[in-house]
Structures are given as structure tokens and as C-alpha cells.
């Protein structure tokens, strides 16, 4: 920052501050050890607040039976505990849900570092507190400094106690306020001896050691420094927010190098401490993967994954570097990112690597330029750092090679014995050298070395003078043996390297292939359901376990797809899935939330937001590669789901657009259908007015007829529009009467008579017909519409048949024409409104007038009377259309019949 430009507030600081808005405030009572009076102070202060009228509730407090503490609970509301069965014992746990439901202004929660009973929502209490804060509840809690995650190693070194209940440093950094509960070590020891300090039975053995004055002093210093540092951090934060320029070390960047051994965790914690000391300097945890030396066993891969996870919890970014030469890869990264501090473990390097300058420590020392190097000795061993099982596996795998090497040398010895009489000893050496070479090529370094040793032994014993002793007769033989070893070393190493590289690249290739295949399948998925199914299947294949995809529906998540099919999720699984959805973070196995279930749920976050949640059943043997593959897949899946969703929306838009188009076509059609008869009326009338004297009488008559006809057409059309409006608007009222359908049909035929031309109407009416309860005028209009449709669509001169008959329940009207019929694809749609508008040209066949409302009105009217209407076509070979109207003889239930 140059000094002449105004100092602006640091955006990061503002962002962090903004993130804190609306959250509850956290106050931590920090102590150096049990018994310093944290709980006591917290309760006293809480009681004071309560008396001042604040809504103070005690969520959970361990009084350990101490009277003075219990007295403080007087007058405070204490939430009931939640009973939890665990291994036959009943534990009383803090009830997070009831605390959230009660939503007090201030909640007192003792023992920040407490581990919840298995089956709780969060494994740790600090996570409960996190949720309470997020819900806007102020929380006060207590913490002993030795529970801080980054201090675990230091505490172990100082006191010899390995603390298992830990709180990540970020959980303390999140505190808005820290209050130090302080006692001098001497005072504390006094209290201890007076029995005023509760020490759990299990810890009593360690307690004497733990409460040694020098330990207490060290712990006290840690607590004091922590408290001071937090105050310092807050001040720096405030200064940065307000744009005050300060002395904070900009540009300090820390790089922590971890390997797959047991020290990864300790290195990460050391990195965090260093970052803290450097005023929260950005820090990165890196692991270098060498293409020619794969991480190898799953165990170290998992260790690295865990260390990465821990590092991310402690606020680091993580990265996997790739490079053949570790120092080069590290220094390249350090250079790019302005790393100023490199933290690494003290590696037990072989003398060989030190001599050749390939020791990492040495190479970095020589080449690190300005970066400071920190070497961390082995700290508290990571919880799981037992002897790697896979080392045994590797030895077992080599067993075949050893056996092969020995057999090969034995066979070569036999061959050499056969050739012994024809050749001299030196040439026989070549045969043995061949066996070493073959062993090296076939089985790698160790079997090659074994073959070399065996070959030397056999060669020397059987074929070199003095024979049948291991005495080396000539100095040159030593050179021969050295060559054996060198050949074994070179070929074995080369073969091993080539093999490892091949294995690694095939693994990479299969990962890439899987991703490509997934990408193809995902992009081919047209619907949301397809995309979800594809994602579930691909994720299941990649993770070698079961997989599910959940999609949001009506405020909840539903199981949309699973692989294999029909996977059932338990209530706990669903809780984790909802958590992943709500909080946009992973939940379930391997995470901080509900880790006891078998699934890991990850939110699917695409470009526009959350698309769903994917669950993958964890395969404990899975390594880092599988996890990364699954993560990459899920990213793709989120995008694919989003795309499918968009596509669905497009279809919806398309429907809307079509209805818009329909409306435009309707307007167009009304304009045309109203205007054409009007033009005729007007044109004919003006012709008569302007040229009456010169017109021939028959022309005059024709013009007058055309005026009447077009006026009638106009009237019909307006009538249709009105009928349609009545149907649409629900304004249709029916007047049901017992009716002879034959009368209505005759009336309808009379109405269309003049438009029939040369079409004959063939009537097929029975002599006897039951009366049916119906609205005469509606039925007549329906029949007229159908007849007009038949007239429009059938050539002049062909008959139209109108028939009526009855079965047990219905009176059925059938109207047939001999027109061209209706194409199969359209038969379903003949009763749709404005069907004609969607014909290729809305004026396609000449003489067909009207917007295609007729049949849809007929359907509306028939259905309003409780009848049914259907169309069939073709009926006579390839021609003809039949419309059937079926009316019930008994009155339809909702309509009371009137007297006949």
C-alpha cells in the first residue's frame, strides 16, 4: 500500500464482520486447568444478567456436586437434559433442539470441548454452540486451554497427557469475548488438595502429573497468551475494518508440507500455531505427489485426507502438488505464492540421499531463498498411527518375486553346471548376470537384489576357485559381484519405476475415463430425473458403493434416484441430507455432523445455487483419489441437474409461448373472420348504393342475398364467441327438461338447412325413444355446430347422416359425414379450442370459416349437461367422420330433474 492513497477499510475484514451480523455473540471463559472457577464465574455473571432482566437460560452445567456452584443455579432457568442410551448406560446430554426452540437471549453452555454421545446431531459441543450462534442466540461457555487443537502437541510434551477432547482454534477465534478465569498455580494446588477441584476418576492417575506446578505454569502461560492474542486479533480486526493502517504483518505466508506418515497431524497443528503467531497469516497445507512414486497405500492417502480436513478446519487452504522432484515442486509453489515460512517434518533421510543432495531438508535449505524453514519433530502421534498394514501387503506381493528370483538363480546354476565343462568360470558369470537381469526386469528391485545375492553365492560356491567354499579367490571376482549388485539395482529400480508410473497413469486414466463417461451421460440426460439417475449411477461406480441423489421438492428433499435401485434411507440419513442442504456443507460419515451414519451427504452446488444433495456410502478403503473423483463428479452433476431444471423451465416457457401464439392467432382469426363478412356486406351495400341504376336485376338480388348470408355468418360467429365466453367464464346455466331428442335434432337440421347446398341429411330416428333430461337449446346449438362442421368439411353432394338410438342408460346421437376425415394424429384434438388455428395455414381450405370454435363449444355444452362426446375417423374406408353424443336417460346426479 502506498502512503499517498487514502487508506480504505479492508474488504476481507468488512466481509468477516458482516458475516457476524445477525449471529449470536459468543463469550468464552478460558482457564488453564480444571478448578480455576470458570463455571463459577460464568454462572455468577449469568445470574447478574438475569437479575438485570435479561432472558438467561442454563443449557447445560456440570456442577460436579460443588455446593457453591449449585447455589448459583438458584433462580436460573435450567433446560432439561436429553437422555441418551449408550452401551447400556444412560447419559444425560445437552438438548440442542429444545434450546433452539426455547431461543433465550443468553444461553449458558458449560464445557465447550465436550464430546457428545454417539447418535447426537454433532459429535462435539462446540458444533452445537455454532448452531446456536447461527440461530442468533448469545452463548457463554467455558474452556480449558489444553483442549485447544493446536496446543495438543505442546500439552502432550509439557504434561505427557494426550488430550482427546479438542476444540478447533477457529472455534475460539469465533468468540467475541474471552474472559480469563485465572488463579496462580499455587492457589489452584491448594484448592486441589482441599478437594475443591473435581477430577474425573479416569483422569485421577494422570492428575498428579498434570497438576505439577511447572505444568500449571506452562498451561497458565498458554491461556494468558491465548486470551491476549484473541484480544489482539479483535483489535487488529477492528482496525482493519475501519481502515486504520497497522503493523500487521502483510505478506507472511506459511506453507506446511505433509507426508503420509504419522506426523501429518502434528505438522498441521504446528502450522496453525505459527499462523496464529503471525497474526492469522494465510497458510497452506501441501502434499507432494510424485508421479513416479504414488502415495501407495490407502492408509497414508487417508492420513493425508484427514490432515487436509483438519487443516481446513483450522483455517488453512490445502493443495496437492505434483512433481518428480519434491524440492522443485515445493519451491515452485512457494515462489508463486510468496511463501515466507515453510513448515516441515524432520525426516529420517538416508545417508545416501543426504550425500547426493536429494534430501528434502538439505535441498530446501540450499534453495529456499528468502523463506524461513521450520522443522517440527514428531509430536503426539496421530490417533491412528499404527504400523501401516499395507507395508505387509507389499512384502507379501514381493514374495512371488523372491521365490521367482531364487528359483531362477537355481535354474541358472543348473544350466551353468551343464556348461561348466565347456567353458571357463568367467563366462559362467554371464549366465548368473542374466538371471539377475531377468529378476530385475520381472519383479523389481528387492527380488533383483535377492537374485544378485543368491547368484553371487552360487557362482562363488560352485564355480569359482576354490570351489565349494565361499572364499573369494581373486580380487577381480569382487568386481564381478559388484557388477551383479549394480545391475540388480539399476534394472530393479528402473522396472519398479516404470511399473509404478504405469499403475499411476492407468489409475489417472481410469479416473479421467470415468469422468468423461459421466460427463457424457450427464449431458445426455434430458430431464431432471434422468440427470439425477445418471449422477447416482456414476457416483456409485466412482465410489464403489451405493449412492443416492435427493432433490428439493416443496420445501423438503425427496429421494429422486439411487444406485442400485431402491435404496432406503433412515430418518438419521435424511436428517444428515437435510443438514447438507440447509447448511450447504457436507454431513454424515467423515464430517463433523452426524458422522455415525454410513452415508456422506454433500450439497450439489451448481452455478446458480443448490441443485440437490448427493449421498455416497463411504467405502473405508477408499483413498484420496476416489474422494476427489467423487467430488469432481458431484460438481458436474450439480451443473447437469441445473441444466435439466433449466430445460424443464424452457419447456414450460415453450408452453406459455405457444399459448401466446395461440392468442395472437385468435386475434388474427377474429379480425379475419369478422372482417370478411363485414367487407362483403359493406362492399355489396356500397355497390348497390353507388351503381343501383346500372345493375342488372339478378345482380341486385344476388348482392342482397350475399348481404343477408354474410350477416348471418357474422351472427353465427359472434354467437360462437359468446358461447365460448359463457363456457370459459363459467357463466353457463343449464335449464334441464325431459326432452325428446328427435325434436331437438329436427330443429337443428332446420337451422342449417339453407347452408346444406346439395348435401342430403339422412335421418335414422327410431319410432320409440325415451325422453332424456337435458337443456334443449344447448343440445340444439351443439348439434348445429357439429352439422356445420360436417358441412364445412365434406364436399357438396355427399350425404350427412344423423342417427339417434338408445341403450340401457343412454340416448346416443350419431352424426356422420363423408368428408376426407380427420388424420389420426388430430383425432384427439378435434375438440380443442382454436384447433384450426394450428393448421399449417389458418386459411388453408377454402370455404372453411370460423376459428374452429364449433366443436369445442359442442363439447362444452354436452359436458355441461352431463353427457359425453367423442369423434371417430375414418369410418367409411379412408373417409368420413362420426361424432357421437351420449346423454344419460337418468338425470345426472348434481342436477335435480324438473317435472316433465
Amino acid at each position: 500500500m502506498t502512503h499517498d492513497e487514502p487508506i480504505r477499510p479492508d474488504p476481507d475484514a468488512l466481509l468477516a464482520h458482516a458475516r457476524g451480523q445477525g449471529r449470536g455473540r459468543l463469550k468464552v471463559y478460558l482457564g488453564m486447568a480444571p478448578g480455576v472457577g470458570k463455571t463459577f464465574e460464568m454462572l455468577s455473571a449469568g445470574g447478574r444478567r438475569k437479575r438485570e432482566g435479561e432472558d438467561v437460560v442454563v443449557g447445560v452445567v456440570e456442577t460436579h456436586g460443588r455446593r457453591e456452584t449449585e447455589d448459583l443455579l438458584e433462580g436460573l432457568e435450567v433446560l432439561p437434559r436429553r437422555p441418551v442410551e449408550y452401551r447400556g448406560r444412560q447419559l444425560l446430554e445437552f438438548d440442542l433442539d429444545s434450546a433452539l426452540a426455547r431461543k433465550p437471549g443468553l444461553l449458558l453452555v458449560d464445557e465447550y470441548a465436550h464430546s457428545n454421545a454417539p447418535g447426537s446431531r454433532h459429535p462435539k459441543r462446540w458444533q452445537d454452540v455454532e448452531e446456536l450462534l447461527a440461530a442468533g442466540i448469545d452463548v457463554w461457555t467455558t474452556l480449558n486451554v489444553q483442549h485447544l487443537e493446536s496446543l495438543v502437541d505442546v500439552v502432550w510434551k509439557v504434561t505427557g497427557v494426550r488430550v482427546r477432547e479438542t476444540v478447533p482454534d477457529s472455534a475460539l477465534s469465533a468468540a467475541d469475548e474471552i474472559e480469563l478465569a485465572d488463579l496462580t498455580p499455587a492457589e489452584l494446588r491448594e484448592r486441589l488438595h482441599a478437594g475443591k477441584v473435581y477430577v474425573p476418576e479416569t483422569a485421577r492417575l494422570a492428575s498428579d502429573n498434570f497438576f505439577k506446578p511447572e505444568n500449571l505454569t506452562a498451561l497458565r502461560e498458554m491461556a494468558l497468551r491465548r486470551a491476549a492474542q484473541t484480544v489482539d486479533d479483535q483489535m487488529v480486526g477492528a482496525m482493519r475494518r475501519q481502515g486504520i493502517e497497522g503493523p500487521w504483518a502483510a505478506g507472511e505466508r506459511i506453507l506446511v508440507l505433509i507426508a503420509g506418515d504419522g506426523t501429518a497431524g502434528a505438522l498441521v497443528r504446528a502450522g496453525r500455531r505459527l499462523a496464529d503467531l503471525m497474526k492469522d497469516a494465510p497458510w497452506t497445507v501441501a502434499h507432494v505427489e510424485r508421479p513416479n512414486r504414488p502415495t501407495g497405500d490407502a492408509r497414508s492417502a487417508r492420513r493425508i485426507a484427514e490432515a487436509f480436513k483438519a487443516a481446513e478446519q483450522l483455517g488453512a487452504t490445502t493443495v496437492v502438488l505434483t512433481g518428480d522432484d519434491v524440492p522443485t515442486a515445493v519451491l515452485a509453489f512457494a515462489g508463486r505464492n510468496n511463501v515466507t515460512q515453510i513448515v516441515m517434518g524432520k525426516s529420517p533421510d538416508s545417508l545416501w540421499r543426504v550425500v547426493t543432495g536429494r534430501s528434502l531438508d538439505y535441498a530446501l535449505l540450499r534453495r529456499s531463498g528468502g523463506a524461513a524453514l521450520h522443522f517440527v519433530g514428531p509430536g503426539a502421534p496421530d490417533a491412528d498411527s499404527a504400523e501401516p498394514a499395507s507395508a505387509k501387503g507389499r512384502k507379501a506381493g514381493d514374495g512371488v518375486g523372491y521365490l521367482g528370483a531364487v528359483t531362477l538363480v537355481a535354474a541358472m546354476s543348473g544350466l551353468a553346471a551343464l556348461l561348466d565343462r565347456y567353458t571357463t568360470g568367467a563366462d559362467l558369470g554371464m549366465i548368473f548376470l542374466a538371471s539377475v537381469l531377468i529378476a530385475g526386469l520381472a519383479w523389481g528391485l528387492r527380488p533383483a537384489l535377492l537374485a544378485a545375492t543368491a547368484a553371487i553365492a552360487c557362482y562363488n560356491f560352485f564355480f569359482l576357485e576354490p570351489r565349494f567354499t565361499f572364499v573369494i579367490g581373486h580380487a577381480t571376482d569382487i568386481l564381478t559381484f559388484a557388477i551383479f549388485i549394480a545391475v540388480a539395482g539399476a534394472t530393479g529400480w528402473l522396472t519398479g519405476r516404470v511399473r509404478d508410473q504405469a499403475r499411476l497413469s492407468s489409475r489417472r486414466a481410469s479416473a479421467v475415463t470415468a469422468l468423461l463417461a459421466a460427463s457424457r451421460r450427464l449431458s445426455a440426460a434430458a430431464t431432471l430425473q434422468d440427470a439425477a439417475q445418471a449422477l447416482a449411477e456414476q457416483a456409485s461406480a466412482a465410489a464403489a458403493g451405493r449412492s443416492v441423489v435427493l432433490l428439493p421438492k416443496a420445501e423438503d428433499l425427496i429421494l429422486a434416484a439411487s444406485a442400485p435401485a431402491a435404496v432406503a434411507l433412515t430418518t438419521a440419513d435424511m436428517t444428515a441430507a437435510r443438514w447438507a442442504w440447509d447448511k450447504r456443507e457436507a454431513a454424515g460419515a467423515g464430517t463433523g455432523t452426524l458422522p455415525q451414519i454410513g452415508w456422506t451427504f454433500r450439497p450439489l452446488i451448481g452455478v446458480r445455487g443448490r441443485a440437490g444433495v448427493a449421498g455416497v456410502e463411504v467405502d473405508p478403503r477408499g483413498g484420496l483419489d476416489e474422494e476427489r473423483l467423487v467430488a469432481a463428479l458431484l460438481d458436474q452433476g450439480a451443473v447437469a441437474l441445473e441444466r435439466a431444471e433449466l430445460a424443464a423451465a424452457t419447456v414450460e416457457n415453450e408452453a406459455l409461448r405457444r399459448s401466446d401464439k395461440l392468442r395472437a392467432a385468435l386475434l388474427n382469426s377474429i379480425s379475419h373472420d369478422l372482417r370478411t363478412p363485414l367487407s362483403t356486406v359493406m362492399g355489396a351495400a356500397t355497390t348497390l348504393i353507388d351503381y343501383d341504376p346500372t345493375l342488372k336485376p339478378e345482380t341486385r338480388a344476388d348482392l342482397l342475398v350475399s348481404i343477408r348470408e354474410e350477416a348471418e355468418r357474422l351472427n353465427r360467429y359472434v354467437g360462437d364467441l359468446l358461447d365460448m365466453t359463457r363456457l370459459e367464464g363459467g357463466a353457463l346455466t343449464t335449464r334441464t327438461e325431459w326432452t325428446d331428442v328427435r325434436d331437438v335434432l329436427a330443429g337443428a337440421i332446420r337451422r342449417v338447412e339453407r347452408r346444406l347446398g346439395h348435401r342430403a341429411v339422412v335421418r335414422d330416428f327410431p319410432a320409440e325413444l325415451s325422453a332424456a333430461p337435458l337443456d334443449q337449446s344447448l343440445l340444439e346449438q351443439a348439434v348445429v355446430n357439429i352439422l356445420e362442421n360436417a358441412i364445412e368439411y365434406s364436399p357438396d353432394g355427399l350425404p350427412i347422416e344423423v342417427a339417434v338410438y338408445e341403450d340401457r342408460a343412454n340416448v346416443v346421437i350419431s352424426i356422420e359425414d363423408e368428408g376426407p376425415g380427420i388424420p389420426k394424429v388430430d383425432i384427439e384434438r378435434v375438440f380443442e379450442r382454436f384447433r384450426r388455428l394450428e393448421e399449417p395455414s389458418d386459411r388453408a381450405p377454402k370455404d372453411r370459416k370460423g376459428a374452429g370454435l364449433g366443436l369445442s363449444i359442442a363439447k362444452g355444452f354436452v359436458e355441461a349437461m352431463g353427457g359425453r362426446i367423442a369423434a371417430a375417423s375414418p369410418i367409411h374406408g379412408a373417409r368420413g367422420t362420426r361424432i357421437l353424443i351420449s346423454l344419460r336417460k337418468a338425470p345426472p346426479a348434481p342436477m335435480p330433474a324438473e317435472s316433465p
Binding site: T676, S679, M682, G683, T686
Partner: protein, 230 residues
């Protein structure tokens, strides 16, 4: 003109239109010809060009504008368009594509025949004919470029005169915005309709007896202007 009756081809798919137009045209002294489709009409024009064509824009077999373009390839006589009032764009396109005028449906026969006459006259009188045009108290001398109103000279800017001259030359006919702009300001300004509005306003101020209800320079909403001198 020959003693033969002028032949007018009506291209329309509505039989009712033919039913009244045929006797009306006949009564007005024309010989009506009937075509029900664009293809049929084009064939008839090609075979023996009529003296005028009445073309409905809504034809079943071909877009009316397309039929117009095809007809214009080999037919120079007047073409009157029949169209609906809500199809402004269609009308403008048709005029710009070479139609002489349009009539909105529903229309009176008198209006159609008047348009037909104007179009026929404009086609017959080439440039230079009828150099002096009178409209009410206005007298426009297209040769001497003189405009008088009730005998007194009216001062017009060169652009105003150009615009007036174009309108007068096409008197009785609608001239689209684009046609006027291209003729007076050049093709680069074919879309600058606001120029026209301003200049037509000036002309009306100077020429119209009542500029707020113009009688000579009439607006055809959304389409263009028409000069009326009768």
C-alpha cells in the same frame, strides 16, 4: 386509351369479395377478372397484363407480399392492396415493395375505385406531366418550383419544397415514411421518421387553412402521408 374497358384483376380467396366486387367493377366501367389464388393471379398477369390489380394480402397459397414482389418482376401497372387495419407492418412492407396503395377491410366500393383511379392516373402520367397542381387555395408549380396560397407566394426551404413536391407528384396516393425520407433526405436517413414529422408540421403551418385538421397533407397513421387535392 383504347375503347376497350380497362381490365381489373381481383386476386382474393374469399368468394364473397368477388361476388360483390365483380358487379361493382362492371358497373363502374371496368372488366373484372377473378383469381382465387396467388399462383392463378400471377399466371393471369403474365399471360395478359391487366390494367390494374387488386390483391388481397391474406392468400392461402402464398404470402401476399411475396406475390407482390413476383408480380412486380414483370408487371408495372397499378396494384392496390386489400388488407386489415391491424396489419400496419404488412401494409408498409407492401407499399415499399411496390404496391401503389391500399384499402382497409371492410371498405366501400367507392373508396376502392377512387384509389384505383388515382393509381391508374399516376402510372399514366410520367414525370413532367401535369406541372401545375391546384389544391384548394394552393397552387404548386412543379416546373418553376413556385408555391402560392391564395395568389401569394409561400416561402419554403429547399427541403420543405422537396418534400411537398414528392407528395404532390404522388397526389392521391399514400407515400410511406421510407419512400419520402429516401427521396428527400437520401437512403441513409430512411429510418429518421422524426424529420418527416417536423417538416410535415412546417408545411402544414404554411399551407393548410387549419393546420390542426389538415385537408391536403393527410397522415396515414403508422404508414405515411397522402396529398389530397380534391
Amino acid at each position: 386509351m383504347s375503347a376497350q374497358k380497362p381490365r381489373v384483376l381481383v386476386i382474393d380467396d374469399e368468394p364473397q369479395i368477388h361476388r360483390f366486387l365483380a358487379p361493382a367493377l362492371e358497373a363502374a366501367g371496368y372488366e373484372p377478372l377473378r383469381a382465387d389464388t396467388a399462383a392463378e393471379g400471377l399466371a393471369m398477369i403474365a399471360k395478359r397484363p391487366p390494367d390494374a390489380v387488386i390483391l388481397d394480402l391474406g392468400l392461402p397459397d402464398m404470402d401476399g407480399k411475396q406475390a407482390l414482389v413476383r408480380a412486380r418482376v414483370f408487371y408495372e401497372g397499378p396494384i392496390i392492396i386489400l388488407s386489415a387495419r391491424d396489419m400496419e407492418i404488412e401494409k408498409i412492407d407492401a407499399l415499399d415493395l411496390g404496391a401503389d396503395d391500399y384499402v382497409e377491410k371492410p371498405f366501400g366500393v367507392g373508396e376502392l375505385l377512387a384509389r384505383l383511379r388515382v393509381a391508374a392516373r399516376n402510372r399514366l402520367s410520367s414525370v413532367g406531366a401535369a406541372p401545375i397542381v391546384e389544391a384548394g387555395a394552393l397552387r404548386i408549380d412543379l416546373i418553376q418550383r413556385l408555391v402560392t396560397r391564395e395568389g401569394e407566394g409561400v416561402k419554403l426551404s429547399p427541403r420543405e419544397y422537396e418534400l411537398l413536391a414528392r407528395l404532390v407528384e404522388g397526389r392521391g396516393r399514400v407515400l410511406t415514411h421510407q419512400q419520402l425520407l429516401t427521396a428527400v433526405w437520401g437512403p441513409a436517413h430512411a429510418a429518421d421518421v422524426q424529420y418527416l414529422r417536423v417538416f410535415v408540421g412546417h408545411l402544414r403551418q404554411k399551407l393548410e387553412p387549419d393546420p390542426s385538421s389538415p385537408r391536403h397533407i393527410v397522415t396515414e397513421s403508422g404508414v405515411g402521408y397522402r396529398f389530397i387535392n380534391d
